[in-house]
């Protein structure tokens, strides 16, 4: 597969404001819109330009709004960051678009609507204070009417779901019944109804009676794409639990446990940290089998929900050359980076990010993979991206880069694949890169 540069968004200057760092990327269900959230609590939505030329797939800004503001928790004397942790789109129910965005403590339902009518004919003064001239006598009744105007995109918050999480929210996921969603923090998962903001049900609680016995936390949670009663959650110890909401009201007992048996030879001080799962994604169901993709620090793992106790179906190494550098990565905290992963619309490819602004795409059918770089230097229109390679032996070839020369501050944590086309959006710090491909 060959990938071409399509667009880049965000300032190209070296001076990056912390608030501009992108913290999540999500395509809408039909791929027409792409939402990004940043550390400053803003959400920017891009829309696909509808052009007759089907090869061109460019996105331009559709709407920008401030989703969350920084807050202060007075009771605990803690700041609540406004950084957007996750965005999830709801299925379309009318011409407007709805999405859920969350920071550490509060989830909000936003409605993004277009307005193409304006009310005119008010019997008031204009901006400068002059009486608006009108036809007819003053005593005649004048009713304001709607007149067509330029399209204006408005974002308004419709629901606020707050005060249900003691710890930081890491995931939200919408149920296939389209009226409920879950939110997960480190120790608890809550179930909400989209219409009801003052109540939520707790469905998983792994807080031990004695906090000193705490050994694992919840890192991600996701509803099954069409079974309304199933959801999965991953832990910091690398295990995935599948829960069936039909069995009990409180799902502390998992229905299935998916984990890889530990290899005693490979144990090290860092084993547990690097096994912590940072993202979970269900496949789209393009194939007959439903797979679950998990991302831990060094690998991507593919799980089959029906195969309990057998470990993952496949494992894809993302950046194995980092095995020898774990100590350094621990010291500079990079070992705790949470990378996301995505499926292509046909479930054939999987995408995830790495360091040095590298990102990796794996082809499940041919078992090939490719490493590409989201670089500001490759931004000529339709420029073909050259595959990158990290050298793992002492003999460094011309184009290769040594692991010691990787820039660990340039990490691609967030990326998304268009739901039906081979188009990806990759967030590199404050820039959003769009890449497109043709089958090679």
């Amino acid at each position: 597969m060959e990938w071409y540069f399509s667009q880049v968004k965000g300032t190209m200057e070296d001076d990056v404001a912390e608030a501009d760092i992108i913290s999540c990327v999500e395509f809408s269900e039909d791929g027409d819109l792409l939402a990004t959230g940043d550390k400053g609590g803003r959400v920017v939505i891009f829309q696909r330009d509808r052009q007759s030329n089907s090869h061109k797939c460019e996105y331009s800004v559709y709407s920008t709004f401030q989703s969350h503001e920084p807050e202060f928790d007075y009771l605990k004397s803690l700041e609540i960051e406004e950084k957007i942790n996750k965005i999830r789109w709801l299925k379309r129910k009318n011409p407007s678009h709805f999405l859920l965005s969350t920071n550490d403590k509060t989830i909000k339902l936003w409605k993004i609507s277009e307005r193409s009518k304006r009310v005119e004919g008010y019997n008031t003064k204009d901006e400068l204070g002059n009486v608006v001239p009108r036809e007819g006598p003053v005593s005649a009744l004048r009713v304001p009417t709607f007149k067509p105007s330029d399209v204006v995109v408005e974002a308004s918050v419709r629901r606020t779901f707050s005060n249900a999480h003691t710890y930081h929210i890491n995931s939200i996921s919408v149920n296939s019944d389209q009226e409920t969603f879950l939110s997960a923090d480190d120790l608890r998962i809550n179930l909400w109804h989209l219409e009801i903001t003052d109540q939520s049900f707790n469905i998983v609680d792994i807080k031990p009676a004695n906090m000193e016995e705490l050994t694992e936390v919840i890192t991600a949670a996701e509803f099954h794409p069409w079974h309304c009663h199933l959801f999965v959650y991953s832990s910091s110890k690398g295990s995935i639990r599948v829960c069936d909401m039909r069995q009990k009201a409180l799902c502390d007992q998992h229905a299935k446990l998916l984990e890889e048996p530990e290899d005693p030879n490979a144990r090290s001080f860092f084993s547990e940290i690097i096994s912590s799962i940072s993202d979970l994604k269900f496949s789209h169901g393009a194939e007959s089998t439903q797979y679950l993709l998990s991302r831990d620090y060094l690998t991507l793992k593919l799980w089959d929900l029906r195969m309990e106790n057998q470990g993952p179906v496949s494992t894809f190494p993302v950046h194995d050359y980092l095995q020898t550098k774990l100590c350094t990565l621990y010291e500079n905290d990079c070992i705790f980076d949470k990378f996301e992963c995505s499926w292509s619309g046909d479930d054939r490819y999987i995408l995830t990010g790495s360091y040095n602004n590298f990102f990796r795409i794996f082809d499940r059918k041919t078992r090939k993979d490719i490493t590409l770089e989201a670089s500001r230097e490759n931004t000529k229109p339709r420029q073909l991206l050259r595959p990158r390679k990290v050298c793992t032996t002492n003999r460094k070839k011309k184009d290769e880069i040594s692991p010691d020369n990787l820039d660990f501050t340039k990490k691609i944590l967030h990326s998304a694949w268009h739901p039906s086309e081979n188009l990806i959006a990759v967030a590199a710090v404050n820039n959003l890169f769009f890449y497109q491909s043709k089958e090679s």
């Binding site: 299925k91 379309r92 129910k93 009318n94 011409p95 407007s96 709805f98 409605k111 296939s176 019944d177 389209q178 009226e179 219409e195 069409w226 079974h227 309304c228 009663h229 909401m245 039909r246 069995q247 009990k248 009201a249």
Partner: protein
């Protein structure tokens, strides 16, 4: 019956139609409600010409919000349109029941019942019952549980043999559904289902289903079923009822009384007493009495409260004396619970409890408790205790009040704590109307007046307020001789609030 005037109805249809498509559920629901009322205003012909096309437009709308609104408009127009149009409406409803989006199927399921009532019998069996079956087998839990509600309505309009053939298998399936939420709905609607299926079918087929819900793995389901035990048993056919309860229901009930989940136990405690009249004296003594006694000692206060609040059923059958030995410690423990809301709950049951145990038992064992509450730390308790006294005086009479209650209340007037002195005044406020003029003049008034020189201003201004309240009980001579001087003295009080309330009282009693 005013004649239908379509001309006034039609202009409203268009804006209501567009309101029925917005994304806010509450707005859509109101619009649908208004459209239903509007349909009443249309003549039959106009219904076909204007209203039915609206329904069809909504059912075929692009967005699911539009289609959900359509579901609520079928029943109201179906009976009044021609056969051809009826066939079309049935087809549209069928499409909605099979819609792609769960929201529409949910709306269809929740309106299936009312539509079933409007449709002719043969079409009900031919068209709607299959829809009911498909919704009851939907892959979404939220759709299946709404089908349970529809089950009640459909069963109500079918004949007996049809019920067994068409509804019962689906109902049984629902009571064994994998999703606890569906089973919960069955438990919750059990009384209605029982009534809809009729006594014979229920006793034959529903008893095993009910018993299995009482044993369900999920506590929420058990609690919902437990809350229905009394209703379920009382609807069983009279001749076999006692036997059935003893052999099938009671064993489960006994297990539920020891359930690990406190909500289940509370739900059971609230209704299990209702079985006493159904079982008769002997069976109650043998089987239910031990149960009550255990529940009275349960560690969860709500369970104990629920038992006590339902004692009248037991009293009817075996007399409360049989439980009184265990009843008293339970009441005392609840009355002294550290949580004030629990104490409040027991106070609220006290009047009915007193009526059942009778005045002797009450005086001997419970009156000290009632007086004690008057000096509780929590104001809400003191207030409830005061109201309790009024109810007791109403039940037991003024003479009893004179002997037991009034001396203790008046004693409070000399208490060290000003709050207790104020409570005394509040008691007087409440009791004066039920005690009558003589008692109030002779006993209560002197004490009230004596507090005119209380060191605390709050007490003094409450004296003024009390005098204003009870002043209407006295005759004019007493008012002028005894009440007015007190109020006039208070009018000269150094505290402003006291002066204010004194003047209010004087005005209220028309003395100024």
């Amino acid at each position: 019956m005013c004649p239908r005037s379509s001309t006034s109805a039609r202009p409203f249809q268009a804006p209501l139609e567009s309101l029925a498509t917005v994304e806010e559920t509450v707005v859509r629901d109101k619009a649908v409600e208004s459209l239903r009322q509007l349909a009443e205003q249309h003549s039959n012909r106009d219904l076909e010409t204007y209203f039915v096309p609206l329904v069809k437009r909504l059912s075929a709308g692009d967005w699911f919000t539009t289609r959900t609104s359509a579901c609520g408009l079928f029943a109201v127009c179906y009976p009044r349109v021609s056969n051809a149009v009826r066939a079309e409406l049935r087809q549209h409803f069928r499409n909605l029941c099979g819609d792609d989006t769960p929201m529409v199927r949910r709306a269809a399921a929740s309106k299936l019942g009312e539509f079933a009532k409007a449709v002719e019998h043969e079409h009900l069996k031919q068209d709607l019952v299959p829809l009911f079956h498909s919704l009851a087998n939907d892959e979404q839990d939220s759709v299946r549980l709404l089908a349970v509600e529809a089950c009640v309505s459909i069963a109500n309009v079918l004949q007996n043999d049809e019920k067994q053939r068409l509804v019962l298998p689906t109902l049984k399936q629902a009571s064994e559904d994998k999703s606890w939420r569906v089973r919960y709905m069955v438990a919750d609607k059990f009384s209605e289902l029982q009534a809809a299926l009729g006594p014979e079918l229920s006793s034959r087929e529903l008893v095993p289903a009910f018993c299995s819900l009482l044993k369900d793995a999920e506590a929420e389901v058990r609690a919902a079923a437990a809350a229905k035990v009394k209703d379920f048993c009382s609807q069983l056919p009279a001749d076999t009822r006692q036997q059935m309860i003893l052999t099938q229901v009671l064993p489960q009930v006994k297990e539920l009384a020891a359930d690990p989940n406190q909500h289940v136990k509370s739900a059971l405690a609230g209704v299990v007493m209702g079985l006493a009249p159904l079982l008769g004296r002997d069976a109650t003594m043998e089987h239910l009495l031990p149960l009550f006694l255990t529940q009275l000692k349960d560690e969860c206060p709500e369970v104990r409260l629920n038992v006590i609040s339902n004692l009248d059923a037991v009293n009817e059958v075996i007399g409360v004396k049989n439980v009184s030995k265990n009843l008293l410690p339970a009441i005392v423990e609840l009355a002294e619970d550290s949580k004030w809301r629990i104490r409040l709950a027991i106070i609220e049951y006290m009047p009915s409890l007193a009526a059942q145990v009778g005045v002797e038992f009450f005086d001997e064992k419970l009156s000290a408790l009632c007086m004690g509450w008057l000096t509780d730390h929590v104001y809400a308790i003191r207030e409830a205790a005061t109201n309790n006294l009024k109810a007791l005086v109403e039940k037991f009479g003024a003479e009893w009040a004179q002997q037991t209650v009034i001396p203790r209340v008046l004693q409070l007037a000399r208490d060290q704590n000003y709050l207790h002195r104020m409570t005394c005044l509040f008691c007087v406020n409440i009791m004066a109307p039920v005690c009558g003029r003589e008692l109030t003049t002779k006993l209560l008034l002197p004490t009230v007046s004596s507090l005119v020189s209380d060191p605390v201003a709050n007490v003094r201004f409450n004296v003024a307020k009390t005098l204003q309240k009870i002043g209407t009980v006295f005759d004019q001579k007493v008012v002028e001789a005894q009440v007015q001087p007190v109020l006039e003295r208070l009018l000269q009080d150094p505290d402003n609030d006291v002066k204010f309330f004194a003047s209010e009282a004087l005005e209220g009693l028309r003395l100024q």
